[in-house]
Homo-oligomer: 162 residues x 2
Amino acid sequence: MKKTIIRKARKSDFEDIFKLIVELAHFEKLTPPSKTAKKRLFLDSFGAKRKNNILIAQIDNEITGYAFYFYTYSSFLARKTLYLEDIFISQKFRAKGIGKLMFKELINTAVKEKCGRMEWCVLDWNINAIYFYNKLGAKPLNDWIYYRKNLSPSPSPNGEGL
Amino acid sequence: MKKTIIRKARKSDFEDIFKLIVELAHFEKLTPPSKTAKKRLFLDSFGAKRKNNILIAQIDNEITGYAFYFYTYSSFLARKTLYLEDIFISQKFRAKGIGKLMFKELINTAVKEKCGRMEWCVLDWNINAIYFYNKLGAKPLNDWIYYRKNLSPSPSPNGEGL
């Protein structure tokens, strides 16, 4: 099997990464980023005021997967958390150990950054991913409910819903 | 009723905020920050490399509540999210509208920062909080499972569990 390289994404990788983001959105039955969101995503990932980090898996010249992450914080541990917003391996490259290689690199990064934890969310029907995460020694936080308040497209300046 | 002031926390508020953090940990039946964590928390909240933001509620000279937040990011929206790590009102100041005032300020901040969303987690037995969040127009993400991998105190450099 050809060697998988795990490395930080470069600006020139963006179009390929974006295709994977759209593939992930379809896989998760969610809305992929719009055209204007795509542009913001490029600037927020590679511009001067970078807000997030992208790791990619590459085989030959093909980008086969990506991980999108940033740092959150635990007030009780008083440590950073590496939060994995997305991790995705393209359908035809599954079950080749690429996800495992990416997680290894992410864990090394988190340890180097003195994080106390790594965290992420998974859709409850994604049993392949859940099996993989359990094998990693990760635990579901079953007694917590994740809440979201949407603010777009045009919330009231006085606080919508209040 | 005396007027509640909502404002950004100052360094001199830290001891009072820390008491509330410990009160929250006891309320959630979780481990409060250790002595060394307390020091890191001060530096990470008020030092030169600030990682998070603290908002407080004050009545006269008493700090009655705090909100601890930072920004995460949605790759699909390509927008920042205001993530609320903690929001807590001291037991004796509950049901006075303080939480509502804090949320109003947090939503205004999120809108000003062009966030697409606000997100937070709640313990599934905390029905008062859940009732309050539902009234705000927030929604539970019931089909997502939150996963955590603990990295402390001393994970293997090769990626524990891999």
